[in-house]
């Protein structure tokens, strides 16, 4: 009995402790929010004075300040020299020496199975004190949790005052970059910039097939049909069997995907499924239920029945769809500029004589082409603690990387990489080694590095995941190369020099038709109705789309679907989306 009593008591104590602990948190939390608003309106001003008083002079804090953060080590970031760690390495030393910023890590986890995300969320829900700066790259749900936690400050004034020109230019490239992280008109996090236009897709065609069948590259959907018909019926691979396809596509994951996207057929009719587009009256409409989409569906239905696209398309995801092209089965594939680097090398393995080239997306009956793309060049965010002593230090840090490492001048300090003996080494004859296989032959140049692993790359140690990226730099350099410009800067030599010709050409094709790409204009958090209805609505759309394409349902199914889409919550969501749009735009 005593034991039982003891056990019950212990359990109750545990329970009570948990309760009271949490009770404390929630009050703290609400208090925090109040404070947060206070910070937004008043603090930046006082911070500024403090900052100058605390002395950031000549690009350096003297005496050094400390900046706390947390990190989840991804595989590529977890490669260290012997004796170095996340807390102490060439990156932390550089930052301390040059900027007077002493990076301190409250904790470091190996980021497997979303360990970093889990730990962040636990910190949030247990009300633990947040470090000065938190980075996050991944699902928007966690981003929204962080934004709404009330622990982080608005960054409008910080950007205004401390952001360097390159960062500012990158941000100004697309004002919608702020949409997802705007709360009550305030910018609540610093976007980590990434290369722009990298997700825009265009059409790749087998050149050898076109030549063999004496065909011109198609410019319109009608011409595309002629080419596909020839690809299917005139035995382009010359094996005497009718086993070829027109277009490689896989729409298991929907009609707005990152490769083998079929959305361009809808785009040619002026609709983009799966995204919110500004309609004629300026309000946002959902592309999946626009009447224009029906015509595109009927076109696809025709293609399916004629065998231009594979019967298995609905069962294939992006990679599965691309395999139809890389197997040498299909003659056309849609994808981003970089597919010549992956997965198209498989095509050269399977069909050595294959040649392919990028072409602009075909236009529809009204002479327009369209596809999803041009999304803001952001990949992750930095959240700054509202109680941070030196919130501006984060920007000084980011500026340093933009100014010195994002696009270094020839022969400058970081021209060849982050640090010699880490991500590169130079031989006596001037050759630069950047991969661990060649490095093995010159192990003496990489002291304390495990050459069985990839070389340690200090860019991955940075707060911003990979140093700093100037959004337009990649596309600009590629276009320059495509136009025959000489590769001068280290970045151009490194990034563009190693690219395939088809890759470089594809980027130029994409940049030349930049206005056909339309981003998804809704970037806010899931609204209440979305949470409860999203699944139902997307199921309605996907089921109807697929069944129409496969002729399992009559074309009228589209109108029925559109009707019940609106009735079962779509109307309400459209209203909520537009309320959000009004607020941010």
């Amino acid at each position: 009995m005593k034991r039982q009593v003891a056990l019950v008591l212990v359990l109750m104590l545990v329970f009570l402790a948990a309760c009271s602990n949490n009770g404390g948190n929630s009050t703290e939390g609400t208090g925090g929010e109040g404070q947060g608003q206070g910070t937004q309106t008043e603090d930046p001003g006082s911070n500024k004075e403090e900052a100058t008083a605390n002395g950031f002079k000549d690009g350096k804090y003297d005496p050094p300040i400390s900046l706390t953060t947390v990190v989840g080590l991804d595989q590529n970031a977890a490669v260290f020299k012997k004796g170095e760690s996340m807390e102490d390495n060439v990156h932390t030393r550089l930052v301390k020496e040059r900027l007077g910023i002493d990076l301190k890590y409250d904790w470091v986890v190996t980021n497997t199975n979303d360990a970093y995300k889990t730990k962040l969320r636990l910190m949030l829900s247990s009300g633990e004190k947040m470090p000065d700066v938190v980075r996050y790259r991944g699902d928007m749900e966690t981003v929204n949790l962080l934004l709404d936690s009330g622990q982080f400050m608005a960054v409008d004034e910080l950007i205004e005052q401390y952001a360097g020109d390159l960062y500012k230019e990158g941000l100004e490239l697309d004002p919608t970059i702020w949409y997802p992280i705007t709360r009550d008109g305030k910018k609540m996090a610093l976007p980590i910039l990434d290369y722009a236009y990298n997700g825009n897709q265009t059409m790749f065609i087998r050149e050898d097939w076109l030549r063999k069948l004496n065909l011109e590259a198609p410019k319109t959907l009608d011409e595309l049909e002629v080419v596909m018909d020839a690809f299917v019926n005139q035995d382009p691979d010359g094996n005497g069997k009718k086993d070829t396809l027109g277009l490689a596509t896989g729409f298991k994951n929907g009609f707005n995907t990152w490769m083998t996207d079929i959305g361009f057929v809808f785009g040619a009719y002026g609709a983009l499924p799966g995204s919110w587009n500004p309609g004629e009256d300026g309000t946002l409409v959902h592309g999946s239920v626009e009447p224009k989409a029906k015509e595109a569906l009927l076109r696809l239905r025709d293609w399916m029945s004629k065998g231009y696209i594979s019967q298995d398309s609905a069962l294939k995801d992006e990679v599965g769809g691309s395999e139809m092209f890389t197997k040498g089965q299909a003659g056309i594939m849609v994808g981003p500029n970089w597919i010549p680097a992956w997965p198209l090398p498989d095509l050269e393995v399977n069909v050595p004589e294959a040649e392919y080239k990028a072409y602009p997306l075909p236009t529809g009956p009204d002479g327009i082409a369209g596809a999803a793309g041009n999304n803001p060049p952001v990949n992750g965010y930095l959240f700054i603690n509202k109680n941070a002593k030196h919130p501006e230090a984060v920007l000084h840090y980011y500026n340093f990387f933009f100014d010195n490492l994002a696009n270094p001048e020839p022969d400058s300090e970081f021209a060849l990489g982050f640090a010699e003996g880490y991500d590169y080494a130079v031989l006596d004859d001037g050759t630069v080694i950047r991969d661990n296989n060649t490095a093995k032959e010159h192990a003496e140049l990489f002291p304390d590095v495990d050459l069985n692993n990839s070389l340690p790359n200090p860019f991955f140690y940075t707060l911003t995941y990979e140093g700093a990226r100037i959004p337009t730099l990649y596309a600009d350099s590629m276009v320059k190369a495509a136009e025959g410009g000489e590769l001068v800067t280290p970045y151009e030599k490194m990034e563009v020099g190693g690219r395939k010709e088809q890759n470089i050409h594809a980027m130029k094709v994409i940049m030349d038709q930049l206005d056909v790409y339309h981003k998804n204009y809704y970037m806010g958090p899931l609204t209440d109705t979305m949470q409860s209805k999203n699944e139902l609505l997307s199921k309605l759309v996907n089921e109807a789309y697929n069944k129409i394409i496969y002729s399992q349902s009559p074309p009228e199914e589209f109108d029925k679907m559109s009707d019940s889409w609106h009735k079962s919550g779509g109307e309400q969501i459209t209203k909520e989306v537009n309320e959000w749009y009004e607020e941010v735009k």
Partner: protein
């Protein structure tokens, strides 16, 4: 009344019967002094069970809350049966539950019949080596993950896959296995049986190994044919274990196999192939509706529990077999 008189200590008459209850009162304490180390050894297991099986059940509170990860279980507001109402009012619920029942039901029935028959067939084989090899081979797919099997099947069953090539080679129409609702159910059930019947086959074979050989000898002496022996000796010997397997699997009537369906299905077969678990995955997990997911999970567990209890009672009554 009598018993109270008897057990009363001062009762002078019938000393011996009075002593029995008294000693039985004392006995537990004596037994305790002897057995406490055993209980102590049991303690970790009990604690682990409480910690990992019962404490997490506290999370079921989420089913009655509007759970927000930031607020936690203690901070999220209670909404009563809102999520259960939502579940039953959701337009697709009926179809999804029906699909689940059909697919899971077929899996349970054939998952019992196939190994039952296969075990009997295997039991008749004389070459022990061959028997062992077959037994191992049919058990093997049980260990392959559906992520891999799904990819293999998608390829094999594609329009130009090996299965359809074979079909057209023998002059049959190719079948759209994974894109036609009815064929999809067929594919799902058959591939599931293929993957899992090896396990129950082993269970049934174990039961058969326990049959007394003299029964067969006696039957042979009486002139029973092989078929008669199977009918009157082998099969009755397997009934109890079949009842156990069936009873246990009934708890799975609402589990139609998430791993499998998730890796095989696509929008074309939503109407025939979407089951509760895939539905919850899309609604609750992808859209952050944890409370709703918990509510459905709880509903499933309750139905499973009720079915197990009922079928166990029935099994105990009619087949006379008790598990607990």
């Amino acid at each position: 009344m009598k018993s109270t008189v008897k057990s009363a200590p001062p009762a002078p008459v019938a000393t011996s019967p009075a002593r029995i209850p008294r000693s039985s009162v004392r006995k537990p304490r004596e037994r305790w002094s002897l057995t406490w180390p055993l209980h102590l050894m049991l303690l970790p297991a009990v604690l682990v069970t409480i910690l990992f099986a019962y404490v997490p059940m506290g999370g079921l509170a989420m089913a009655f809350q509007d759970f927000k990860p930031y607020d936690g279980i203690f901070g999220s507001p209670f909404v009563g049966l809102e999520h259960f109402r939502f579940m039953f009012e959701y337009p697709d619920s009926k179809q999804v539950i029906l699909n689940t029942l059909i697919i899971a039901g077929l899996k349970i029935v054939f998952g019992l019949l196939v190994p039952f028959a296969f075990a009997i067939l295997l039991n008749e084989i004389r070459m022990i080596f061959f028997k062992r090899v077959v037994q191992t081979l049919v058990y093997l797919p049980h260990f392959i993950s559906w992520v891999i099997l799904g990819a293999i099947l998608t390829d094999m069953l594609s329009s130009e896959g090996i299965v359809n090539q074979t079909l057209s080679a023998i002059g049959l129409q190719p079948v759209f296995w994974l894109g036609d609702g009815n064929w999809f159910r067929f594919t799902v059930v058959v591939s599931d049986i293929w993957q899992n019947f090896g396990f129950n086959t082993i269970v049934f074979l174990a039961a058969l190994a326990g049959v007394n050989p003299s029964l067969y000898e006696a039957a042979e002496v009486d002139g029973a044919s092989r078929w008669r022996q199977t009918l009157h000796i082998t099969m009755p010997a397997m009934i109890p274990i079949a009842v156990v397997v069936g009873t246990l699997s009934l708890g799975n009537i609402l589990n139609a196999g998430f791993d499998q369906i998730f890796n095989l299905y696509n929008p074309l077969v939503y109407d025939k192939g979407d089951i509760i678990d895939t539905f919850v995955y899309r609604t609750a997990i992808l859209n952050g509706q944890y409370s709703f997911g918990t509510a459905v999970g709880m509903f499933k567990s309750m139905v499973g529990l009720i079915l197990i209890v009922i079928s166990y009672r029935l099994a105990a009554k009619y087949a006379g077999y008790r598990i607990f």
